[in-house]
């Protein structure tokens, strides 16, 4: 479903891959949508644990942590090999937001969570005097989120995971230049 999208994968195929009967699919999941929602929750827990925590959770300069976050995401895309699939939350959002309100609401909640994680480290950066003058940490969190999703989309279109590693350098203007390392 990550590789090909929601519509392109039917319940029959999901059952076959999972070696399950259709009856047992509908025993566990009331619908393909219920499965998609459960997958979203599980993937978000995993992404927080494997991508956000090890990079944003440090105590170095925040710009270095955000840079590490972008580079780790790029590295994970590279390691997976094959075509760049992009962000699984963004993919499902673009495919389903306009016609599946429950999926749109769940992805919105996940993006709100991401936004809070970025806002948290940016508030830390503000408290330590790392932000450029006039940058509001809460507003800047949306810039980071939008740029990250946009870069993952471009990486998919160009089929090049390196595009994602450009996050850190593109955020440089949010930070105080006097803090700049070369």
């Amino acid at each position: 479903m990550y590789a090909r999208g929601y519509d392109a994968v039917g319940v029959a195929e999901l059952c076959e891959r999972a070696d399950a009967r259709r009856g047992s699919f509908y025993h566990h999941w009331t619908s393909k949508q219920a499965l998609a929602l459960a997958m979203l929750d599980r993937e978000w827990e995993r992404t927080k644990r494997e991508v956000f925590a090890p990079t944003l959770g440090g105590d170095g300069p925040v710009r270095d942590r955000l840079d590490a976050y972008g580079r780790l995401l790029a590295e994970r895309h590279r390691r997976r090999g094959g075509p760049v699939y992009g962000c699984r939350f963004g993919n499902l959002a673009l495919e389903l937001s306009a016609r599946e309100p429950a999926v749109r609401a769940r992805v919105e909640a996940i993006f709100d969570d991401m936004r809070r994680l970025f806002a948290g480290v940016l508030a830390e950066a503000a408290a330590r005097g790392e932000l450029a003058a006039g940058v509001d940490p809460d507003d800047a969190a949306d810039t980071v989120l939008a740029l990250m999703e946009g870069l993952q989309l471009l990486a998919k279109v160009r089929n090049d995971p390196e595009v994602i590693a450009g996050l850190g350098p593109r955020l440089r203007a949010l930070f105080d230049e006097h803090e700049e390392r070369t």
Copy 2:
């Protein structure tokens, strides 16, 4: 197809909407993919004419032109009403890039065109001394493109066209503060 995505709309329904017979569909289009490619080309011509030319084509400060571009895109989403569908090129890219190489290549070419349009006005800004120190117009064009796609994705997820109008303010750091108007 813009509202619901590529997979969710079959050839039978496309024919019904267009009041055409299936035979005549395959007379005009060798496949649904050929139709998608033709639609992409037509929509890109229209977007250049109706969105890019009237905003980026002026001769005022480039930051104002980019701001006008973001506000016009938001306004068009608002006028259309109903759910926010987001960027039609980004949508198709995320749905199909990993499994339809011809669609991926066409969207990549369109994004390259967009990138050149942004790079053009940013080069103009550089020549007129409007860019902040150290900002490379060509590299900044990718920042604008990624941010724009990311904001359209967030607008779709939050079902709020206003998110898109945030492009201009979020690009402020690319420009020389001494040029700043209040």
